[in-house]
């Protein structure tokens, strides 16, 4: 790995994003609006808001960065800039790491902003440390980024890439335990949920909210970390130097 190439890619991705203030506004505002709606919908004191407010806060960056990365990477593939990069002396992992770092930076801002709002103004409370929620949110953003990178290899157009979001993300949100506790699911659904990375991301957040920072929490975090590494490896495999 080459630090100067990685930072060049990260800076370039952020420069591109800066040219698109509307996307930045959406990335930062949408989670805040949704968290506000959630509070209004169930009420400040309700157990529902208190229970799902924190995990949801940590999952927003996953969804956003999945989408943003898959589109950015698809553009890189279709405009020929990836082909040009592939003729240059760089390692594929440098590209992936650059993307991951750029979107992690965005996720820090996004997660910090929605945390300030939720914990500060909306009355969301969590038994565990609030900074840990932000850290997990950023880790989820990196997970979303790496998965988005991988998935972009299977899209030919931006229409397809956008559709991959519900296809790859919604089932994970449904099965991660956010809506129905996984213990109450049909056995086969629970079995499927064990295979989905978001299940562990949600678990870690829910345990942070309940301040259950036990061995199970450590395992959840380790699985999320492992999924990031796996997604990077899969992503690297889709970045081919030679194509048809």
């Amino acid at each position: 790995m080459n630090a100067s190439v990685t930072s060049a890619v990260a800076v370039r991705v952020l420069q591109q994003l800066r040219r698109d203030p509307r996307t930045i506004a959406l990335i930062l505002a949408v989670p805040c609006v949704l968290e506000f709606l959630l509070q209004q919908l169930f009420g400040r004191q309700s157990s529902v808001f208190q229970e799902i407010g924190t995990p949801l806060l940590g999952l927003f960056p996953f969804i956003t960065m999945f989408l943003v990365t898959s589109i950015t990477m698809l553009r890189e593939r279709t405009t020929g800039t990836l082909e040009r990069l592939m003729t240059m002396p760089l390692n594929k992992v440098d590209i992936l790491a650059g993307y991951g770092i750029a979107f992690a930076v965005v996720a820090v801002v996004q997660a910090a902003l929605v945390s300030l709002l939720a914990f500060g103004l909306l009355g969301l409370d969590t038994a565990g440390p609030k900074w840990l929620v932000v850290v997990l949110a950023v880790a989820n953003a990196v997970l979303g980024s790496t998965l988005g990178l991988f998935v972009s290899a299977f899209a030919q157009t931006e229409f397809q890439a956008v559709q991959f979001m519900p296809a790859a993300v919604f089932p994970q949100i449904l099965l991660c335990g956010l809506f129905v506790a996984r213990d109450d699911m049909a056995a086969w659904l629970r079995g499927v949920s064990y295979l989905l990375p978001l299940t562990y991301a949600y678990e870690a957040l829910a345990r942070t909210a309940a301040n259950q920072l036990d061995a199970r929490f450590a395992l959840d975090v380790a699985v999320v970390g492992g999924c990031i590494v796996l997604a990077v490896a899969l992503g690297a495999a889709t970045l081919r130097r030679r194509t048809d």
Binding site: S4, V9, R12, T79
Partner: protein, 237 residues
């Protein structure tokens, strides 16, 4: 006789079930400007992509600067300009070239130099999406020239440029060749053939001729290269 910078032997490429190059052999002399000419669809871009090592090939061999095409040890020595300008539309000219310069470990002065070479220094702070097609192509060309590569492979670099700029670029190409750079430049415009030291004429994925412009003229007994290409193509058929 100069040595060859690129040696293509029996190259076979199949794209989407169609054989684009059925077994092409040719060479690109070192330190010269070689024109790769032929109608669109003749396999020029496929050959170029094979030489820079991004094309999946079905058979044969391509050696570049003494190594297999695409080899990690020669990547820094080969500059490549794709046919469609491969630049970031939402970045400025400076940011685009600056990014690739950092990837290649080149200094800021290298960026300034290549932008001056393609006459884009005045536009360095403009976002690429606001540039014309010809200007975008020059951003792409500037990027390919970063790091003064030993081999420059340019896929239709002068399309859509005004005649003055075209002449300036061809002068630049020859200056580079004079300094020892090997250039392979594709075009489908025959009037550019005369500006080349050597020519590769391609048709339906086959090499119709490999010669200098003068050799082609004397071999076909015509004064125009356009006519010479027609005669060669008809003789093949």
């Amino acid at each position: 006789m100069v040595g060859a910078a690129v040696l293509v032997h029996d190259l076979e490429v199949v794209r989407g079930g169609t054989t684009v190059l059925p077994g092409l052999s040719c060479e690109v002399p070192a330190g010269r400007v070689t024109g790769l000419l032929g109608p669109s669809g003749s396999g020029k871009s496929t050959l170029i992509r094979s030489i820079v090592g991004v094309q999946r090939v079905a058979g044969g061999s391509v050696d570049v600067l003494g190594r297999p095409a695409g080899d990690a040890t020669i990547r820094a020595r080969v500059g490549y300009m794709t046919q469609a300008p491969s630049v970031y539309l939402d970045l400025t000219v400076q940011e685009n070239v600056g990014f690739f310069a950092r990837v290649l470990g080149q200094s800021r002065s290298a960026v300034t130099r290549v932008l001056a070479d393609v006459a884009l220094d005045r536009h360095r702070d403009r976002v690429v999406s606001t540039l014309s097609g010809g200007e975008r192509a020059r951003v792409s060309l500037a990027t390919a020239m970063l790091g003064t590569p030993d081999l420059l492979v340019l896929d239709e670099p002068t399309v859509g440029l005004d005649p003055v700029l075209r002449r300036d670029l061809w002068d630049l190409f020859h200056r580079l060749a004079h300094g020892g750079t090997t250039l392979l430049i594709s075009s489908h415009v025959m009037d550019e053939a005369d500006r080349c030291d050597a020519l590769l004429l391609l048709r339906d994925g086959l090499l119709v001729a490999q010669a200098t412009p003068e050799e082609l003229r004397s071999r076909t007994g015509t004064s125009s290269l356009d006519e010479a290409f027609l005669r060669l193509a008809e003789a093949e058929a």
